[in-house]
Amino acid sequence: MDKKANIWQLLFFVAIPLVPLLVFWIIPLFVSVWLSFTNWDYISPDYEYVGLSNYLNMLADEAFLQALGNTLLFAVGTVIPTIILGFIFAVMLSRLRRNVTFLQGLMFAPWITPMIGMSIVWSWMFDPRVGPVNQMLGFFGLPEPHWLTDSNFAIWAVIIVTVWKNTGWAMLFFSDALTKIPQSLFEVADIEGAGRWAKIRHILIPLVSPTTLFLFIILTLDALQAFDQINVLTQGGPSGSTRTLLYLYYELAFEQFNMGAATAVAVLILVISAILSFISMKISKKYVYY
């Protein structure tokens, strides 16, 4: 039986820690929703309620629709390779006995580096003239695109950097999930006559599916919030080809000070995130094996 708390204890243990959470998370979230129904411009003290017009304008705005499409492409383009590569690396690592931590250490290193700094490095690596990316491609006789200035390639450059940074992280999650699968399940599969592929398909993949789902949700939420790499590499360009919803929000809010329109975009990101996390909570309950 837990102890019944008195008022002073509640103030100390609950109220104080809740202050920053309230002031910088919960209240701002509600204020954002409220602002999205106004035309506030940050500078003037006046504002008017404009109803749903921020949302309606948004839906009619081509820049918004482009950003929505870019966000979708960016999310799919980063999440799926990150999960697949992370899984493959983890499975390969699980077959080794020695040097595992060393290899994990190399693969995970990108995650701890600052995205800004490494994006600056990548912006030079993508340099069409002196960057090693195109030097490598040229060496193999492959086409050498102008990564950051060609609107067909810019988003892929951003995707490559993001996948590079997150794959090690996904790999660690999968490695952890793999170690939790009892060895005897693979042994019994051996005896039952399952080959390597049958084991991966019928045992490994289904048993790590809770991790896959979790990564899918977290990486998608992460993709919705990607900013640093876009800011350094392309600043949303060329011609808006790398402007995601969040980047659009940033431009609207902190370059154009169109707070109403900006918060409307923020609310949309919020709603998408809320739906995703709700789904993940619902599904994950079904999938817990251990």
Binding site: Q9, F12, F24, G105, T113, Y287, V288
Partner: protein, 279 residues
């Protein structure tokens, strides 16, 4: 069979080593480039190693902007944030796991529901709040606005739940206060969770960019990423300064990278532990 397996493992190791080296290649390339001359880089040859290491690139970069000050700002704010976060999150996690009060579950559900929401959605109102509090363009502003960390609350709550109830009841029977129980029993028993939460939070706050860049605009208050990006934006257009930009980037990346390679085991277990939070 044993021999074939050995060869197979060796091949597997070599493939994984190649992948691992590929992953750290940008860091290596950055460090090598920071030691080259401009001519060497613009020459466009495939040589990886600098022919004559230009160590002077580092003092030159430091002359152009106070990067050490930026690093210190990042280190200082991240450290304070982590300490206060741990303190506040421990209190709340303790209340959520060991104390009984009305609305405990509701409170937990509210905290839980903010877990996965994007921080960016709070920026506009938070911006106003920071300026009303008079904390615009200050390290204090960065610290105060980053104190809430739902993830840490979760990680601690989950670990506090594992502390056997009998221990806490025995301590209460001995007359220990809740404060004593938290810091003398529950927290020490959850030492790993506290370490893991600190590592993850420190990395995120040290590398933080967007929000600090919005609320700081004088050089003395820049975090490293902010200062570096401003430097890049003003100097990056000139190919001549490329080695200096690489030197500055090395300064921004190296502190955490060194800590990481020294404490690698802890970093990896920190991330693995966070994977247990699903479901």
């Amino acid at each position: 069979m044993a021999k074939r397996e050995k060869i197979e493992k060796l091949i597997l190791f070599l493939i994984l080593l190649a992948i691992g080296l590929f992953m750290v290649f940008p860091m290596v390339w950055m460090m090598l480039s920071s030691l080259k001359t401009t001519e060497e880089i613009l020459g466009g040859s495939l040589t990886l190693l600098p022919s004559d290491p230009q160590w002077s690139n580092f003092p030159k970069a430091l002359e152009m902007a106070p990067f050490l000050r930026f690093v210190w700002n990042s280190f200082f704010t991240a450290s304070v944030i982590v300490i206060v976060q741990l303190f506040l999150s421990s209190l709340l996690a303790y209340a959520l796991t060991q104390m009984e009060f009305k609305g405990r579950n509701t409170l937990f559900m509210i905290v839980l529901s903010t877990y996965m929401l994007p921080a960016a959605a709070t920026y506009v109102p938070s911006y106003v709040i920071i300026s009303r509090l008079g904390l615009m363009d200050s390290l204090a502003g960065i610290i105060v606005s980053n104190l809430a960390n739902v993830f840490t609350i979760f990680l601690l709550r989950q670990n506090f739940l594992k502390v056997p109830k009998e221990l806490i009841e025995a301590a209460r029977a001995d007359g220990a206060s809740e404060w004593t129980i938290l810091w003398k029993i529950v927290a020490p028993m959850s030492k790993n969770a506290l370490i893991n939460a600190s590592i993850l939070s420190f990395v995120l706050n040290f590398n933080n960019y967007l929000w600090p860049s919005l609320i700081t605009n004088s050089e003395e208050n820049y975090l490293i990423s902010v200062g570096l990006n401003r430097f890049f934006n003003t100097q990056g257009a000139f190919e001549q300064t490329f080695p200096l930009i690489m030197a500055a980037t090395v300064i921004s990346v190296l502190p955490l990278l060194i800590i990481y390679f020294v404490l690698q085991k802890y970093f990896i277990s920190a991330v693995s532990s966070s994977s247990g939070l699903k479901g």
